[in-house]
Amino acid sequence: MIINDQGTANLLQPLLCLRFVIAFVFLSHFTGNTKESQSIYERNEIENSSSHLLDIIIESELISRNCQPAPLCSDYVFLRRAYLDLNARAPSISEISEFTQKSSAHKRENIIQELIRRPRFEHYQVLKLCDLLRVKSEFPIKLWPNAVQAYERWLYDAIHLGLSWQEMVRQLLTSSGSNFRQPAVNFYRALSPRTPKSWAQAVALSFMGVRPESFTEKQWDNMAVFFSTIKSKSTLEWKEEIIYHDRDVLGDKSSPTQAYFPDGSSVMIPADADPRVIFAEWLTADENPWLARAFVNRIWTSLLGSPIIPGVDDLREDNPPFSQELMDILCQQFVTNKTNIKKLIHFICTSHTYQRSSRPAAGSPSFPGFSHYTVRRLEAEVLIDCVSQLTGMPQGYTSQVPEPFTYIPANLGAVRLNDGTITNPFLELFGRPPRDTGRYDERDNEPSKKQALFMLNSTKLNTALTKSKRLKKLIATKGKKDKQTLNKIYLSILSRPPLGNEIENYNSYRKKQGNKYALQDIVWALINSTEFSYKH
């Protein structure tokens, strides 16, 4: 049975195949420029067979389902994809020409390595962690701005120093101290209400990929015991909070407490022990099946666009993975490399699977199974940063909640906005998550009429496009041939040069509308095109 986009079985596969074959013939008759498009989006050389472990598994999966993998994507597509996925921005014109002109056989692998080394990679990972850990200063999370800053700094340092995921989780689970000075304790503060059961559910969702409805009441009651000794107290410093383990909760018992892990196995908690430490040992052990799978599934989904276990953070027995082998090999790699996050991402991005074109191979069904890259919209923060980068307009963020106000430096960009409370109408419109639950699907990347309305016609964007000095410089034709300018525009906005038919369309538009508007309008058209706002 084939698993489609929504993770449900599709029994109509043979019929669908036929439908797409017919559609493909129909399509090529009308686009006429398929060959040209193909050359700009796909690589035209014969693909060497890959020895990458991921590719071997996926290839055999595809064979067993009568699916052909899509061809590899072109250098232009690959570079933009890698930059957006790893550095949350589009490549510059010089970066594009440098990459496309190289002839080394390992250039793709090398650029992946390079991008992972950059600070922007780390900041982007922190953004994703902040989504997961509900980093938000206001209601209903109520971390408070100073604690948000400290917490985000801690997360950044952890990624930057290469702390393993196991170690990060261990610290987040077992830290005690001030929300300002031991920032990892904010894990326990980032939810409401604060009870042992809701802590257990937060731990399960964030680190085990398990939703509240997936465990029984008994399992939750058992798991809550490990979080039953957490207390908090305030100090004289405004909004400072100390999170600590209160040994009196279990300590007044004369015998150790028996507790049960989610997998049913039991452990005795000595009277003077911090049960969080015992739970953390269990969770971060190499053999623990939840930790690695949950994290791998999340990372995989963010890179490939579609999860191996459907739902992303919905691990349960009756929700099987697309391929057990694939999940196993990824977890194995992850654990063998001491749950190093950068190495996991490098492992995934250097496969052929990551490099596939977003158009399925001729005659193949169009649902994934990772035969082709999944097209999806850019996240709100990345999109607004791309628009800002083009127009040169800085996005100044402030929060007037609470007083004293928070000011974010003008050129920091939205990817660096660590506080879920600080937002603006654009970010909300394009689905920045409110960070109330920490679920993966809290971020909404679905298109909507309101979003399209904004991109097509909003006063703000129109003003940015007409008044931007940077854009004016980009489209200035003084002393340059028009063809050069158009080339520069396409490279800046879509990270590739224009095709023949696109140049023709533009030229006939220019004849009708005149030079002044034509360049502004092609910039507008490209920013509104699917290619700009969708990862492909």
């Binding site: 986009d5 559609a23 493909f24 399509l27 686009t31 398929t34 498009s37 989006y41 209601f139 209903p140 939810l191 409401s192 209400p193 977003s358 158009r359 169009s366 999944t374 097209v375 999806r376 919209r377 909640v401 609470p402 109408p425 909300e428 419109l429 109330d436 679920r439 909404d444 679905e446 298109p447 909507s448 009429k449 309101k450 979003q451 399209a452 309305l453 097509l456 016609n457 909003s458 006063t459 703000k460 129109n462 095709l499 696109e502 369309n505 533009y506 538009y509 509308q513 508007y517 309008d521 092609i522 507008w524 058209a525 490209l526 509104n528 095109s529 699917t530 290619e531 706002s533 969708y534």
Partner: protein
Amino acid sequence: MGTLTRRKLIHSTLGGLAAASALGHSNGILHAVPKAPSEGVFSTKRRAKSVIQIWLWGGACHLDTFDPKPEAGPEYAGPFTHSLKTNVPGIHINPKFPLLAKQAHRYSLIRSMTHGNNSHETASYMVQTGHPAGGKLVHPCLGAVLSHHTQSQSGYSLGLPPYIVMTKAQGRFSEAGFLGNKHKPFATGGNPAASVFAVDGIISPGITEKRQKARLDLLQKNDQLAHFLNQNATVGQNLKARQEAYDFCFGDLGNVFNPKMEKEATREAYGTQTFGQSCLVARRLVEAGVPYVTINFTGWDTHKKHFEAMNTKLPQLDQGVAMLLQDLDERGLLQDTIVWVGGEFGRTPKIQQLAPWNGGRSHFGAVFSTLIAGGGFQSGQIVGATDARGMEVADRPVSPWDFMGSLYTRLGIDPSGSIPHPYGYSVPLKPDHKYKQSGGFLHEIM
């Protein structure tokens, strides 16, 4: 914007509303009547179809508006040494409200709103959702719930968004709460009193319609990836959204936002500043069938220069609301439209004379006033009372849920019912929490 042709009408309204409803047009508005509500979403007790919420952003002082206390002396009443009689015996309001004084037969006053919270964010959330802050869920406000209900029944095919805010969204709390992005309000942006009300996304000053259409054509031709991936479902969704937005831009629905479609005399009667013109546009929107319109009237958080601000704002409020009530009633819309004027809390009855306030008023959640009209609520009444200086509730407290539950009832939504959470479970409308001061729903005026 030219005459409405039948073709344009059908083109611009999704689902062919034109064919289904009674159509007349005056001043360029489609008198669209939504289809009958389906069972189970709206109850047969439904009296009101729309709400105009005039939100006094920052909190307006009850003493300076609807609960005057001249006898408390200048320390409390400031320059307002007397109150103004209205055309309903027994109802007195601030002397800066001469026009509203003639409209008292159209509204009622609630003088005992109370929740005790003095924080803008928390109080705004409480008053607009009925729920106390705290707890796991972020509850949606009335506008978002109405947006959800009207869109989930098959009858709502009006091209206009069901929940519209003029002109900026709240910012103090999340209107849609857990209902998500889909039920966030459409904020118009722009200024209805400007020479062109540049409603975001519909009207773009500086770009002609001809050029808009030409460049849209260029976009469609040059959307190379969309052609390359024309079998892709995600790409298809994006193109569909773009098409819907395009239809919205170029249809005639945009006319409803244009106050210049009204006679000049009407526009002047409302007041030619932002607030007055917002009231006029709100009437047009409700007339066209929009269920929920919020006017965010900013600038009431007067810690300093309080009475100077009141000199400007009170006459604007007076003129806009009085004209709105009269206009709605004369058009037969008032019985179906709830009009609600109030903010998140009141302001301190005792004026803060010392520096740095120098004659200002601070936040006051202990007690405050709200005006309510239309939608099947009785008019010419006063609900509740405060003590001699307006410091606390003297009679009949009204909690945020007392208020919100009454609105739900009038709108035909069962306040003891529930709404669906996107993650698949039901959330009761009624809060768990019991407010310290509460007198039950507004049965006195229902």
